[in-house]
Symmetry: C2
Subunit: 353 residues, 2 copies
């Protein structure tokens, strides 16, 4: 029986119970639209803050920073900070600066990542390191990190500072973990999860946790928002992993198969490797570990991944974390902000289709 049909007559002839619209059921029409509309005023102030805080008398800094910041991105992380603060009835000024801090931390990570990954493209544009050099990417990243901390200090919440500075450490640890695990096809699913928890999900978690923290809500609500962000972040990264093999160049802003060509071990690979034949494992070792990749290898990789349902099952795992994210918000009363945050989970996963 479709739980969306409000009333039904059971097969045994008794009048069916009314089944309420289940907020834990994924919304097939999920989009970011509601959430974006709800935080629009705050995000205008976040964007103005971002613009003013990339300002520097050193000309190259706003150039490089704005190249990346202006090139889009949904600004999901700062949106989450505003949204969780609002859901917790926060009425002060601090959320805007914390949201801008979160976006700066994210941008700094992207700049440093490009140097680490030797990427040529980012968000559909030439990567900053190609245009201005590795030096500028490292240093402007450092500048943005410094500005992020300055804004947090201005907000004055030591607890929020603690959360975000700890996140900065954990993110770097996650990146180093990824580096150490790089090109190791025998990475386990648990090891991979530890990496993406640290390098991606931790910032989502921190972005969501500081909302109830500055609103001075009870610990349980802080933990709930943190868990929502953490699981949303994991789901988000897993869907990204799928998109890297299944999206189109146009919609993704980068080429399909980037992870494959860079020898990145992501969950689809972890699953396919463990489910594969000896010949398939030899293929993954040659291409990902030895870096011996020809033009036809991507097609072969996709065939193997599909043969083992590795992309579908990665998405299934993402749904699992998405469900955890939805449940984490259970203790908050219904309201438009909560509803919009639930939709975001579904939106993140629906990207993969």
């Amino acid at each position: 029986m479709d739980p969306h049909s409000a009333v039904g007559l059971g097969g045994n002839g008794v009048l069916g119970v009314v089944i309420p619209l289940d907020e834990n059921r994924p919304d097939p029409e999920a989009s970011l639209t509601d959430l974006v509309a709800l935080v629009a005023t705050g995000m205008e102030r976040v964007n103005a803050t971002i613009l003013s805080r990339t300002g520097s008398s050193v000309q190259m800094i706003p150039e490089v920073a704005n190249h990346l910041i202006a090139s889009g991105g949904k600004r999901l992380r700062p949106i989450l900070t505003l949204a969780t603060a609002d859901m917790c009835a926060y009425a002060g000024d601090g959320a805007v600066k914390l949201a801008a801090s979160v976006e700066f931390m994210h941008t700094a990570t992207l700049l440093h990542d490009d140097v680490v990954d030797e990427s040529d493209m980012r968000r559909g544009s030439v990567a900053a390191r190609i245009k201005w050099g590795n030096e500028a990417s490292v240093l402007v990243g450092d500048f943005l990190l410094g500005q992020a901390f300055r804004m947090m200090v201005e907000v004055g919440s030591l607890k929020a500072l603690d959360i975000l500075s700890a996140a900065a450490t954990v993110i770097a640890e996650g990146e180093v973990m990824q580096l150490a695990a790089a090109k190791n096809t025998e990475t386990t699913e648990d090891e991979y999860l530890a990496v993406i928890r640290a390098k991606t999900a931790e910032l989502f978690a921190a972005a969501c946790e500081v909302g109830p923290v500055i609103a001075e809500r009870p610990r349980a609500e802080q933990a709930a928002c943190r868990a929502y962000g953490m699981n949303l972040g994991i789901a988000f990264q897993l869907v990204d992993d799928v998109l890297d093999y299944g999206g189109t160049s146009a919609s993704l802003g980068k080429n399909v198969g980037d992870d494959f060509r860079e020898g990145k071990i992501t969950l689809p690979i972890v699953l396919a490797f463990r489910r594969g034949t000896d010949a398939e494992r030899a293929f993954w070792k040659r291409t990902l570990e030895a870096g011996d990749v020809s033009d036809e290898d991507l097609a072969t990789a996709l065939t193997i991944l599909r043969g083992h349902r590795a992309l579908e099952d990665t998405l299934e795992r993402a749904r699992h974390y998405g469900a955890m994210a939805r449940d984490a918000l259970g203790l908050f009363p219904k309201g438009p902000m909560k509803q919009a945050l639930l939709q975001v989970v579904d939106f993140c996963i629906a990207r993969a289709h």
Copy 2:
């Protein structure tokens, strides 16, 4: 008349006034010994903190961090934090963590600098980026920066957090400024000073300022310690610039002429370029701007620098900032810590001989 002779008979026959030992007069026997002894107990705790805070379950992080941290360096910056806190009669626990934070900020800068400069050597050892790759240098630097902020948060002084996070931003700005000015032989002395104020002296200034800040001393003492650190930092960098052309490989831990080969514009170059003939300017443009450097060019460079007294006069400029650093401490009463801090200025300059 030698002001160190306590009593003299003036030429006009009247008894000369007693001239006290002038604390503003450079001490030719200057060394770090006194200061190191005075902060020894605190530095043991700083070193233990540094060791424990580079700990991570991600093995590569302590490896890379300790490669650099264990390879020496005088730890002048954390020493300055302990010393200024002590001079201001601070009795709490915070100075140790702030001192460790300062050293982590410095180490992070060194790691990122090596990537920016593409250096092969650092403190007489192979640079971390050569041993572990640029990726590790970028990311372990980020990790240390995150840990630095976590320790500051633990200390709980928003004012100290403000000073050190602002310093992080200014340092990055200074590095970008240097990048933008790189290979420009027409850099003015003022432009060069702006760069080293930001990239080197700001951290000295912040390291010294947080001492009186956590001791909750009046603004004038905070400003005095900041000015001491700022001017000491400028003098320190100018002496480094001289050492790069005049030190020996053994004593310096890096090869003489590194700055020259990397096309770095430092004050000796700025002075020699402005004082030079057209032929000499063409030489600097060829070697530093165009990067066309042969093995004999370093000897030529040294001859030109000496011909214009560029190294001596850079050292003279360093003495000027050293004198400002000494005077900045004027309002503090005499005492062994103040005396040791004055000696440090002379020690920094005496390195150049």
